[in-house]
Symmetry: C2
Subunit: 118 residues, 2 copies
């Protein structure tokens, strides 16, 4: 078509600008925020799924919610200090901050995980 330039992009030309993923430091993790983050059945399922210690993506955890809701739940968990999120290419990987939580609130995560299994 006259007057229209077409540009072909290679994968290496595309810069994925990931949104920043702020995490509270261990000492900044608040009990009320942790309990709030855990007070949703979907978020409890996510935490239980991450309790194996593996790093997992949002979609690898079988949840009956749409992707945007899943993204929201992971953000609440990250902001409360329950999980760590990191971007690897286009994948966002999630892991439980078990050590930080066990130091900050000894016994809490274990009791919640046991309660979630029953």
């Amino acid at each position: 078509m006259d007057g229209v330039d077409t540009v072909t992009l290679e994968a290496s030309d595309v810069l994925v600008v990931a949104e920043p993923l702020p995490h509270p430091a261990r000492r900044e993790i608040e009990l009320a925020s942790v309990l709030h983050a855990l007070s949703d059945p979907m978020r409890l399922r996510i935490v239980a799924a991450l309790a194996t210690g593996e790093e997992r993506s949002c979609k690898s955890i079988d949840l009956p919610v749409v992707k945007s809701t899943c993204t929201h739940h992971f953000r609440v968990l990250r902001e409360a200090g329950l999980i760590r999120q990191r971007q690897e290419g286009t994948a966002r990987l999630n892991s439980l901050r078990r050590d930080d939580l066990d130091v900050r609130f000894p016994g809490l995560l274990a009791a919640v995980l046991a309660g979630a299994r029953n």
Copy 2:
């Protein structure tokens, strides 16, 4: 005044109709509801104040909130199964359902109370 009857009431004539105070049975206490009830700093303070085992009225616990807010927090705690409320005359007395919680979610209340003290 003509045509107006006045009636003098004795204290014994007055029937206080208290609102019903439904409590979930032990097996009905849900983890997500318990965590939600505990996820508010004022409600955490109430639970910590009741952890001595004493039955206490709303106003005996020093909280920087108005009475209606206090009443709301106690209702959330009762409906989640964290506290028992009973009416004694005009006073509403509150106690922690520690035995029920310890059977339902072992270690949870102890971990939360320890976390709230730090």
